[in-house]
């Protein structure tokens, strides 16, 4: 490998990049733009769940129970259907997620020390929201029930749970979303940056010129990678600063470790994109492959949205082949847990393997054509 030739190759790629100004601007600004939008827009915090109340009891006791739903902050009462018949339509049209039905005998049963049934109907279609709503409603009713039967007497249950949340004490969903997003967006950007670079040379006919020069294929691949690695590092730095400054996400771990891991990840993801590009030789096909192999897996199989531990074993095995998986783990762990290499060495080794495999695959795919 000759350093001068390698740098010349990198320079050539940079010049070519600069000519496509619009793409270049997108490459630099897209990640931080997306982080800003998503970090602001999305959250998991389930608040103000729309609910309806059918109060057939119309008593002080039932009004007290309803008031507790309202003042909890989790629910917003938006409808008071007159009869059971109206409930159906509210759920069907998605106007409410939950219906509280208090039967006529509620107050009498409660006062008499009998068990007083109360019904809750959930729109189960969105299972996640429904589960959280169910938990909140259960807690409100249980508390109300205990106070109602004890009638002001103090009674301590023999057991209580005291829960503490680590790493993200307030359960702020933004703290988990922003570090994960950095990883997902970078996987996507990385594939996008390099997937077309070699296919483009084939389509434009400049590959033959490149083949005619004395440049070695290792120099071509590394030289082409260098400018993109620089762009990628810049993107990550900008995205992290945005996360810290704009959203106040804590960065508890070592910045150097994060940088090192980022470099490894970028090498793997970028060289993998280049491999696709060298292997298929047309930009259309490279686009499609990059989209399908990198885009959705990075979003859905990386553990960013859906936790890997709940997937079937076979699919869990598949996620080991998604580089974003390791990077999502790494960013979340360094940002929120503040752990070091002792907890992340598995991810580090995996990313080294990916980077090595990516680069050698790209060189290999290249070799056949140049010979």
């Amino acid at each position: 490998m000759n350093l001068a030739r390698l740098l010349a190759m990198a320079r050539k790629e940079t010049i070519q990049l600069r000519r496509d100004a619009r793409s270049l601007v997108m490459a630099f600004l897209l990640p931080v733009f997306l982080i800003l939008i998503f970090g602001y827009a999305i959250s998991f915090d389930v608040k103000n769940i729309e609910m309806a109340v059918l109060d057939e009891s119309q008593s002080e006791a039932s009004r007290d129970l309803i008031e507790r739903f309202e003042s909890s902050g989790y629910f917003k009462i938006v409808a008071h259907p007159a009869s059971y018949g109206g409930v159906d339509e509210l759920l069907q049209r998605g106007v409410v997620k939950l219906v509280l039905i208090i039967p006529p005998d509620f107050s009498r049963d409660l006062a008499a020390g009998r068990s007083a049934p109360v019904q809750i109907l959930l729109d189960g279609a969105d299972a996640n929201t429904a589960t959280i709503a169910q938990n909140y409603a259960g807690a409100i009713v249980a508390r109300y029930s205990a106070e109602a039967v004890l009638k002001g007497r103090e009674l301590v249950l023999p057991v209580g749970a005291e829960s503490r949340v680590w790493y993200n004490e307030t359960l702020e969903s933004r703290n988990m979303i922003v570090p994960g997003l950095v990883a997902v967006i970078m996987s996507i950007i990385a594939a996008m940056l390099t997937a077309l670079t070699i296919a483009r040379e084939w389509e434009r006919g400049t590959m033959e010129q490149l083949a005619a020069t004395p440049v070695h294929r290792l120099e071509v691949v590394i030289g082409k990678l260098l400018p993109y690695v620089a762009i990628g590092l810049f993107d990550v730095a900008l995205a992290i600063v945005a996360g810290l400054v704009v959203f106040g996400v804590p960065l508890r771990g070592n910045v150097l470790l994060l940088s090192g891991m980022t470099l490894l990840f970028l090498l793997g993801a970028l060289s993998f994109g280049m491999f696709i590009s060298a292997a298929v030789k047309t930009q259309v096909l490279a686009t499609q492959l990059a989209l399908q192999a990198a885009y959705l897996p990075a979003i859905l199989l990386s553990g960013f949205m859906f936790s890997i531990s709940t997937m079937p074993i076979i699919l869990q095995a598949v996620t080991y082949a998604v580089p974003a998986r390791y990077y999502v783990t790494v960013t979340k762990a360094i940002f929120l847990k503040g752990v070091g290499l002792e907890a992340l060495w598995v991810e580090a080794v995996a990313m080294i393997i990916f980077a090595a495999a990516g680069v050698s695959l790209a060189i290999r795919a290249f070799k056949k054509e140049l010979a």
């Binding site: 619009r22 793409s23 997108m26 997306l34 602001y40 827009a41 999305i42 915090d45 759920l91 998605g94 409660l110 008499a112 020390g113 068990s115 007083a116 049934p117 019904q119 809750i120 109907l121 729109d123 189960g124 279609a125 969105d126 996640n128 589960t131 169910q134 938990n135 909140y136 807690a139 009713v141 249980a142 039967v149 301590v156 249950l157 023999p158 057991v159 209580g160 749970a161 005291e162 829960s163 503490r164 949340v165 993200n168 359960l171 703290n175 996008m192 930009q283 686009t287 492959l289 989209l291 399908q292 885009y295 979003i299 199989l301 936790s307 531990s309 709940t310 997937m311 079937p312 907890a343």
Partner: protein, 374 residues
């Protein structure tokens, strides 16, 4: 402007052949979406089951074991390791080997028997705030029920109280998959629609074949038909294939009618294809088209209600999502699949999709004319 059926037919033949010529391309078009739906169908699961739980039992009595048993028997928690050193718990959570820790203090059984209110510590890994919220709720309920059971048995707690009966409609088991798999269909269709058209014009421009087309006797309308009809055909084939997989493989209940779904799918596909064509005519290079598609697709997925509830977004973004065809299509698909909704329930979504399809088609046509006329 005249449309010659003969010319259109020849053009369609050429475009279809070009699209399907490459076996790799055929694989990408028709096999990959099926594989993706199968893989993602298993992935899109937010149910909390068998959460890896680390236990520190300082008490080691029958009562502490009974409580732990109560945790495990719900199926929500699975004890993966235990120890009596708190440092091991820290390590397990730091390394991600467990996401929940339960710590039972010494003297627990004594306090429980005396009715003194013994406290169990539940420690949650908040890096996944959604899972932590749900697990926290479950843990609280389990401990509370266990406490109530003991108090009632010891007769220190009066009988009666509120008996909460919960029923979930449309999805009694509260399985997240039935909600999310139809959404994956929507995402895949959008992705394929964009893929199919976003490269078409810009590629011809980059390769210089666009000039040949403009000097040919084909009118702009004919060219546009040639560029959109074959992709539409392909998109519908993909839609049928993956819907079949969702229903037959994943057993997603189809409670509504296909006739309600189809017009929405048509409008949605037209929006996707037109938007792709628009990108293609605006972009100077394929790289640029590729990036524009990425730029559009990610917000379309994240701000669609696929995963992050729209109702938790700030008001401005809730309005913005109204411009997202995926949002409306997801509402239709989910309502038709799970609730058996009819057209009258969904007229808003239909209206929005119609406006979007017409709008993007018009924009794409205008741009396309200008590009071809050059």
């Amino acid at each position: 402007m005249s449309i010659s059926m003969l010319r259109v037919r020849e053009l369609l033949k050429k475009e279809l052949r070009q699209m399907l010529r490459d076996p790799k391309m055929r694989g990408v078009l028709f096999v990959a979406p099926i594989i993706q739906l199968v893989a993602f169908g298993y992935a899109v699961n937010t149910d909390i089951r068998d959460t890896a739980t680390f236990v520190i039992d300082h008490d080691r009595t029958a009562i502490s074991r009974e409580l732990l048993e109560a945790f495990e028997s719900t199926g929500y928690f699975e004890v993966v390791a235990s120890s009596d050193r708190p440092a091991d718990l820290v390590r397990a959570l730091d390394h991600g080997d467990a996401t929940v820790g339960i710590e039972i203090p010494a003297g627990f059984a004594r306090d429980v028997s005396a009715g003194r209110g013994a406290q169990v510590q539940v420690i949650l890994d908040g890096t996944d705030s959604n899972a932590a919220t749900v697990a926290q709720g479950y843990a609280g309920q389990i401990v509370q029920q266990y406490g109530l059971k003991r108090a009632t048995a010891a007769r220190t707690f009066p009988a009666g109280g509120v008996d909460l009966r919960t029923r979930a409609w449309y999805n009694p088991e509260l399985e997240s998959r039935v909600y999310n798999v139809p959404a994956v269909i929507g995402v895949l269709i959008l992705l394929m629609s964009l893929l199919l058209t976003s490269m078409s014009v810009v590629r011809e421009r980059e390769m210089g074949t666009l000039d040949q087309l403009t000097v040919s006797p084909l009118s702009a309308t004919e060219l546009m038909l040639g560029k959109t009809l074959p992709p539409m055909l392909a998109a519908f084939v993909i839609l049928f294939l993956i819907t079949a997989v969702a229903v037959l493989w994943f057993g997603i209940p189809m409670r509504g009618s296909n006739l309600v779904l189809l017009p929405a799918a048509f409008l949605y596909i037209v929006s996707g294809l037109s938007f792709g064509l628009l990108i293609s005519t605006i972009s100077k290079t394929q790289q640029e088209a590729f990036m524009s598609m990425f730029l559009f697709l990610l917000p379309a997925i994240i701000l669609s209600g696929f995963f992050y509830p729209i109702s938790s977004m700030p008001r401005v973004f809730q309005w913005l999502t109204l411009l997202n065809p995926l949002r409306h299509f997801l509402e239709v698909v989910r309502a038709v699949f799970l609730k058996g909704a009819g057209i009258t329930d969904l007229w808003r979504q239909y209206a929005a999709l119609t406006i979007m399809a017409a709008g993007t088609l018009w924009l794409a046509t205008v741009r396309f004319r200008r590009t071809v006329a050059m």
